[in-house]
Symmetry: C2
Subunit: 336 residues, 2 copies
Amino acid sequence: LPGLPRSKEKPPPGEFELIARLCAGLKPGRRTILGPGDDCAVLAPVKRPLLVTIDSMVEGVHFRRPWFRPEALGRKALTVNLSDIAACGGWPLASVVNLAIPATLEPRFIERLYAGLRRAAVAAELDVVGGNITRASALAITVALIGEARRSILRRDTARPGDQIFVTGTVGDAAAGLKILEGRRRARGAARRFLIERFLNPTSRLRAGQRLAAMRPAPAAIDLSDGLWQDLGHLLDASHAGAEIDADAIPLSAAYRAAIGDDPELALGGGEDYELLFCARGRWSPAELSQRLGVAVHRIGRVMRASDGIRLTGGTRRGRAPRTAGWDQLRSRDSK
Amino acid sequence: LPGLPRSKEKPPPGEFELIARLCAGLKPGRRTILGPGDDCAVLAPVKRPLLVTIDSMVEGVHFRRPWFRPEALGRKALTVNLSDIAACGGWPLASVVNLAIPATLEPRFIERLYAGLRRAAVAAELDVVGGNITRASALAITVALIGEARRSILRRDTARPGDQIFVTGTVGDAAAGLKILEGRRRARGAARRFLIERFLNPTSRLRAGQRLAAMRPAPAAIDLSDGLWQDLGHLLDASHAGAEIDADAIPLSAAYRAAIGDDPELALGGGEDYELLFCARGRWSPAELSQRLGVAVHRIGRVMRASDGIRLTGGTRRGRAPRTAGWDQLRSRDSK
């Protein structure tokens, strides 16, 4: 009985071959005992508490394909997860990736997406240790990320009345960039490029989170994915606290002011900035914190008792909550 | 400036509230420092090597919604991941879940799906520590699972010529069940119920994998998700080996024989059995292994040199590879 040549017995390149090819450029890091290609990836033991998070970017919900170079899409899919590790003050270790791809997507697109994801992983010093690819009607990239806590863990439920509320960077830029991409707002030149770039290529505040985790007591923290107002609400809910926010203190970029104006409504309601909002106890000044965290930090308010509710003060929009209450991921962008 | 009541400032129940509600029944296990509701879940340090895997079930690709009770869908989404841990001989610890849900799906469906997933998690002694929910056009459940290796790690790349090849349970049942569900094959009574149940509610061979991991040397192993022939090919590729498989030795259930007949083609090609295929060195008998692993074990062939290729022997289909070369997840079931 002659053995058939193995090449004839193989199905056309499928999941296994494709993943092997996509992961060919990956050198297992020092933490990785067994990389992609087996039933599970294997990591060296982790002696510190593990952080675990999962997040997904779905075509037609979180993005439209023409907006993104494939590399940028891969990078952002990792960044939104890194931001969760940052919000806990942790260090990323390893990730596994699930790609759902429509039949019409060219293999080259997937390779470029993976290349962007790998580069972002190298920059964040984490290993992409495995993946899964499946057919679907819309492109979706789901990343699960494992990190470790080397210092304290930043939580949402530790804010106390009297804490000062700070935010890193500027807010509303990604939402403004999205509006420009959707053709619902116009902007020109550098402002346009800056705002769009903040939506397409956000930065996770890993270093800032890690440095916050060294402070005593560890600040309550959350990353701004759904929008400042909504994410603040999540943190205050978890902490059973209220807050007073000064609308005039919300840090707006020059590009935001050029495209949107001085109204912070979009900055309060718009999502996907991936900045950190945190509540520090004691007499920290924004300047001290900016230096310590290595990123601009602004004070936007203070934590109150739950019975005080959440108040918005300041010249522009006294006492009124923003009309757009944040980016709710359960509402499709296509239907808005 | 009066504070607004917080209820007015909140958006309609979105991702955060829904996840909190779905996870309300979850008591953090002894390994979980911080469960769902923060940016990351936090697990106690793991002193042994970590196993990590991710897998997805997509509506229209892996299942059609009317086939499944929502609870069964949640259970199977976890089981297919548990099977990867089983194939490495590990113990599951924790999982995070990404749900992509169409706008038309009733909340009750999601709650029941999560209930099934939680029950399966409790049965497997693992914690569901977090989740993410997003909008999508088709229902998709993506589970990332973390486990630990307490003994050896079963790998795909350690098979050597001379090893005996074994498989747990019976194969082809899930593929037969799928054919019945699709109306492409008829069956009646107990056989019909058994085969459909094997597709809808497969068993992961966790205990068997853990016991294999205690054998010396640790057998090469893989779980049967894509189909025996294709998964065997993955294992042999990784091991740079060939094999001789006795078609007459493929274990077929009475239900399979009743619905499909004695031809093992579907058993060789059909996927989703989630049985273990492993290659043991030395004079193990199927009876000894069945007792040791706590599940029926059959010997189906032996590992050869790579230059021998993969040969199929036996009365029925001498020397011929099965026409269906396995379940390729990149081909949609809808298009087949």
